[in-house]
Amino acid sequence: MNFKREKKEEEEGTSVSIYSNLEKTSVLQESRAFNESVINPRKCTQILSKILYLLIQGEQLNANEATEVFFAMTKLFQCRDPVLRRMVYLGIKELSHIAEDVIIVTSSLTKDMTGKEDLYRGAAIRALCTITDASMLQALERYLKQAIVDKLPTVSSAALVRSYHLTFTSGELVKRWVSEVQEAINSESVMVQYHALGVLYQIRKMDRLAVTKLVSKLTKSHLKSPFASSLLIRITAKLVDEEELPTDSPFFDYLEAMLRHKSELVIFEAAHAIINLRKIVPRDLNPAISVLQLFCSSPKPALRFAAVRTLNKIAIAHPTSVTNCNVDLENLITDSNRSIATLAITTLLKTGAESSIDRLMKQIASFVSEISDEFKVVVVKAIKSLCLKFPRKHGSLMGFLSALLRDEGGLEYKAAIADTIITIIEENPEAKETGLSHLCEFIEDCEHTSLAVRILHLLGKEGPKAKNPSKYIRYIYNRVILEQPAVRAAAVSALAQFAAYCPNLLSNVVVLLRRCQVDGDDEVRDRATLYLQLLETDKNYILNSLATSVVVLESALQEYLKKSDFRQPFDIKSVPEQSIVAAAEKPKSLPAVTAAAQKTLANTRVDQAEELKKVPELNRLDLGPLFKSSVKQMLTESETEYLVEVVKHVYKSYLVLQFRIENTLADQLLENVKVDLDLPEGFQQVVSIGINQLRYGSGYAYVVLSWPEDIEGTFGIGIGSTLKFLVKDCDPDTGIPDSEEGYDDDYVLEDIDINLSDQILPVSRANFGAAWEELEIEQEETYALSNATTIPEAVKNIVNYLGMQPCDRSDRIPDGKSSHSLLLAGLFRGGVEVLAKAKFVLSDGVNLQLTVRAADENIASIVTSSVG
């Protein structure tokens, strides 16, 4: 015991190594020793490693310092000490990107690379390639080609690995070494084989036929290196996936055969590859899953981790296939590696039945405090998907979540829990009241401002619609008294929502808001004053908040300022409203995420508009603000020589068709490429912008049409289109045409569909009723829907057809109801507001009563009569 302590003290005494307390300037000073006439290898090695150590610690050298050290280092080539020489290589590599004139060592390195000392050659090649640029490489080509087929594995590997790096910068050059690389694949050395396969694939990967050949040759031979096998598995899997080969193809057989390889590394790689194929069916999954099941009970943590991680992934797409492993997974719940335990739990949650949930939740609760936040988030997400799957279990799950909320945790973790609760509230009306009260309790003691603000916003939106809104007021007002300014401001906004929505609470809330007017913070006072004012004059403004996105509004305001004509006031109605297509596509995503998606969508619209403005011909036309851009429509089959996609950009009085044309033939040059349209009545072509020259690759052509006066003929039509161009044969590598002669050709494309939904932008109305009352022109029509047999199907069809946004979550239909009301909101091209109420009744088929209100009678009647 005594001895041990002494030993420890002694160690601490001596642990002051040469590397502690290093200083850059003194080390650089020491490096002068490199210039001495007789070199002391030990001393110089130590100085070099000190310099490298400093660089590793994050010390920066400026170009002068680096160049000085670099040149001093070149002197060390005189010394023949192997370790010193190798340290010099390392130094060269580390300094090559800071120092200047590094090519000075080229000749020394070339000498080492071709010299007799085997220990130097491989490392010299690697150092040499880091200092040479593309122009110098030509000179080295001969040596590198020789090195690739060198009989010494170190040399061959070094040359191959460097060639691999080079394929990304000088691909053409490396392509010329293909025969040497091919020879290297047959090398005895396992690493050379692996590197050669990597380089060969990198060279060939654009040429699918060559890859197929390579794979079919190599899958028959036996690769000795597990690394090479795993790389070949990846190449094969990619091929199977992209070509959608059937499972009885020899390539798939190869993947399956690799499940019986003797190396675990290869087996796992094969299982992973099979599981991640897109077209896989459960029957073909089974062999891979049983392999992973075996791995679950391996003594090696990494193997168990790999297996569980992969099973967890399959459980998303094929939960039933994983149920066989449930017993093994349950054993892993108590694994000492918490990462493995957590993955096991979440996998079980995905595959588990309703009955086992309570038991699992208990198990999770027992260890949740021990795992890292990152994994807690994973668990919370699993619980979320569970809530959506088994809505009846919301009671116990919600209880569990609120217990988690009370525990310690970082912002990300708390946000994930709050998100989950919010999602449950939105998905499951029964859980709403309990969820809201859990959240209320949480904000009582919430240290994260951003989260508190979000929850207050939600309370303001959902609270007034609850059975007993007044009970939330106390929670919200407590925030006003206790919290910091940002939260107080959010609380004021939430209070105003209550006042505007619930007339019976109005007078009480006004009293509270008056008190907020004496708050110490500007923002809080301003908000209170604003809301008090609005409550007296225009309540709807509180209920339906600003509908345009900030980005769009900003650019509109800038436009306005640029015009510097202020006789007319800025009209907010001229700003296009924010569309919520993204939100509609992903109704299940979190509110936070959809908010982000909405933002990006609004931004993409600005981007799109900016993008179009860059085309000078289009810019010359005064198109006005972009109203809506459609999704892409393919006008050709996906395997043809020319691929054409169209995006419809809708403006108030114009329709811009943007064609993305791709030439997939490397040996053809297309000239004067344009799209001819067969225009329906009423449409007029304003301008057609073609592509002068289209090499292998893609380009954009545009056609601008003006909308007909009469809206009646602007939807439900197809515009016939033909691609016209002049073909010239050319050299596939250089792209230079073989002759000036060419011939005209055309290519018939599919019709471009123009729908009503192209001209309607979905917008949200937080308070549909208020917006509805504002509009007066009304049209009504009744239909029997032929194309739907159930109400959910009919609702989906109508939403898609009209392209409007369902409001108040009326697109969610409770099970087993025989009638349903759907509320829709949208903006017609030019910014005319359109609202619709659709009543569905299930009798023999589905009957629909559609009531449309719009600011324009014409539009109201068109929308009403278009269905059917």
Binding site: E11, T45, S49, A158, A273, R338, S372
Partner: protein
Amino acid sequence: MDSSLLDPTLYIVKGMVIMDNDGNRLLAKYFDSVNFPSVKEQKTFEKNLFQKTHRANSEVIMLDGLTVVYKSNVDLFFYVMGSCNDNELILMTVLHCMYDAVSQILRKNVEKRNLLENLDVVMLAMDEICDGGIILEADPSAVCQRVALRGDDIPIGEQTVAQVLQTAKEQLKWSLLK
């Protein structure tokens, strides 16, 4: 790419680090300029990594979208980083190679002081294991052979007095500990 198949690339290793038991880096090499554009990001990541791994010795952890395999001995921690979708077993092979090579270089005496004394050779070994993210060699004895182990071939005359004393002290200590 929408499928989660692994891309057939040779770039596997995103980083290799050796830390001491206070979480300070002794050696570090990163090959991922997207996740780790500068030393600042690397050090933040290492701090986080060390916090999560220095107590539980459980071989593998997922952190910040990366899979990290690790191993520790006395006062040294060895880490190898890779993409979170990648084959953990390949990363394990690299880790084992790194650890075993270092262990051979340090004559099974894997601890910080000894490592620092042989830092130059260990640097060379790391360079031989991985080149720019590509696994160059995974066999520890091949790695040691390539770094030209200095070993006994240094004549006693070229060692300093302190080094001789150090070696003697070391040997004495080991014989006592046995």
